[in-house]
Each structure stands twice: as structure tokens, then as C-alpha cells.
Symmetry: C2
Subunit: 167 residues, 2 copies
């Protein structure tokens, strides 16, 4: 991964796209969000959603998978050219998570992130905090989900950051 | 479900507890968060976490399942006594989602919610917005995850709330 200093406010990154099939929607929801409008077409037709739609947590979990794959691809690309790599710390959390529109079976959500803030960590020398606003849009370009994620990224200035203390 | 008017700021509810096994952690992470410290014990031992721990999204998805089951139990209890029930609308989102401590394999997380705000919806007559702060604590009583969820709940004052317009 790139170092903290290389993240610039305003830069954007395509995270990827995913089409949510009815089978996937029902499988995720059966395990983690078994509300009838996520697990059964007929019940969904009678609900306020009007048709089968994905659990909001499913739309987030898919973003996470695409995001992790993107990071792993970047790590491999940098390894291939022998570039020094920053450590990525844990995410301290998320803000302003909004489900703006239902994600119906068959919808394709495309996720894009923008760096909205960077700051050196006061509590964790050697680390910086990067905040990224992510928006997931459906095939009509409508915003379906948005959130701001924060993540610790190692600073270039120090050779090796001290281990992060959890909690 | 109870109507909006019956939610009071300060009331608490036990959502349930779950023990995260290594198998569950690896299975969820393989599908949605395939970072090595969530999918492989040896890689986790070398990471900043020090041992296998659950994806933050896994700790949320499990809360959602327990939460949905609790709501469904309440609906059934109210049906059994013929009580009128409020409709529950979609969640407009979450705030202040924090992963405060890793959830290691074998940890048991107990989730508890507290109503922190209630307000009548301006944009959606017949509906109220209930905000609930949830904390998940491990078996030592330490906070591992916390977040504030918002959800639309039908008001009692009107016989039947108009359907919610999504988006």
C-alpha cells in the first residue's frame, strides 16, 4: 500500500461493481438479516419495498470484499516493482452510513471512493488517518449507499511505525 | 412491533450474545473481508492484531441477525395477544460506528441497545424516527463495537401511515 503522505484530498478511486442476484440476496439475508423483504419475493412484494431487495449490510459487505481485493491488487503491483509499502492499520470506524435507495435483485452497484480528509494521528505516532467517502450508485446512476470510512495508514516519515495498541 | 410513541429515551434492551468461532470468522471473511488476519491463524499472528479476529462487518452482521430475531419475537408475542402493531420502516442509516477492540476467535459479544433519541418525522407524516445506541461488549465487559442506528417506526396517532417513498 501507498504511504499516508501519498493520499490526497479529492482523489477518487473506482472500487468496483457488483450485480446483486436474488439468490445472493436471499442467502446473505438468511444468514444475517432474515427480514421477509430480503428473503422472499412474495413477502417483499407486500412490503414497503415492493420487491426483493438486498440487506443494507449485504451492500456493505460486498463493498468490503471489492475494497479488500483492490488493496491486495495494489500491494501485488507494488511488490512486483519492489516498492516500499506502508502498513495499513485497523479501521477505527465509520460515519454517516446511509442507505439511500433499495438495492433490488438484478441491480448493479458501482462503488467509488474519494479521499475527504487526511490527518496525522496524535495518539499514534508514525500513523496517519485517512477518511474516505464512498458512494455506491445503481445502474441508473442513483445513489444507493454512502458512508465515510476512516483507516490508519503508516506514515513515510518514519522507518517503522510502532505497533498499534488496540482499544 | 410497538408504536413510535412507546419508545422512551433511556430505555435499554438486551439484543443477545454470540460466540465467534474461528470457523465462523474465517467463513465470513472468506466471503466478504478476505484480509489474512481474518482468514488465517498464522497470518493473523504476524499482523497488528496478533491473532485471528472477526471482520468488523461480521460483528455487525451478527448483531443484525440477533436484532431481527428479537423484533420477530416481539411481533409474535404481540400477535399472540392480539395487540395492534406498528409498521417498521427502513433504516435511513447509521452513525458513529466504532470498532473499539478486536473480536478474537472464542470471544463472546453481548449486544445491548439504548434509545438515545426519538423524533417525529417532518418529511414522512405518520412516522417517527427512533435512534438507538448499541454497544457490543466482550466476555470481559470491554466495549468491542458501538454504533447508533436510526429506524422509522409508525406513529400510533394515525390509523395507517402512508407508504414510505424510498430515496
Amino acid at each position: 500500500m501507498r504511504f499516508f503522505e501519498e493520499f490526497e484530498v479529492g482523489e477518487r478511486r473506482q472500487i468496483g461493481a457488483h450485480t446483486f442476484t436474488a439468490d445472493q440476496i436471499k442467502r446473505f439475508a438468511s444468514a444475517y438479516d432474515p427480514q421477509p423483504f430480503h428473503t422472499n419475493e412474495e413477502a417483499a412484494a407486500k412490503s414497503h419495498f415492493g420487491q426483493l431487495c438486498a440487506s443494507g449490510w449485504h451492500t456493505l459487505a460486498v463493498w468490503m470484499r471489492l475494497n479488500v481485493r483492490g488493496m491486495q491488487d495494489e500491494v501485488r503491483r507494488m511488490q512486483a516493482v519492489g516498492a516500499p509499502q506502508a502498513k495499513v492499520g485497523p479501521s477505527p470506524g465509520f460515519d454517516q452510513l446511509k442507505w439511500l435507495r433499495p438495492v433490488y435483485a438484478g441491480d448493479t452497484i458501482t462503488y467509488e471512493s474519494e479521499v475527504v480528509a487526511t490527518r496525522e494521528s496524535r495518539s499514534r505516532p508514525g500513523w496517519g488517518l485517512v477518511s474516505m467517502r464512498t458512494i455506491g450508485r445503481n445502474q441508473s446512476g442513483e445513489e444507493a449507499i454512502s458512508f465515510t470510512a476512516h483507516v490508519f495508514i503508516e506514515r513515510r516519515a518514519v522507518a517503522s511505525a510502532p505497533a498499534l495498541e488496540e482499544g
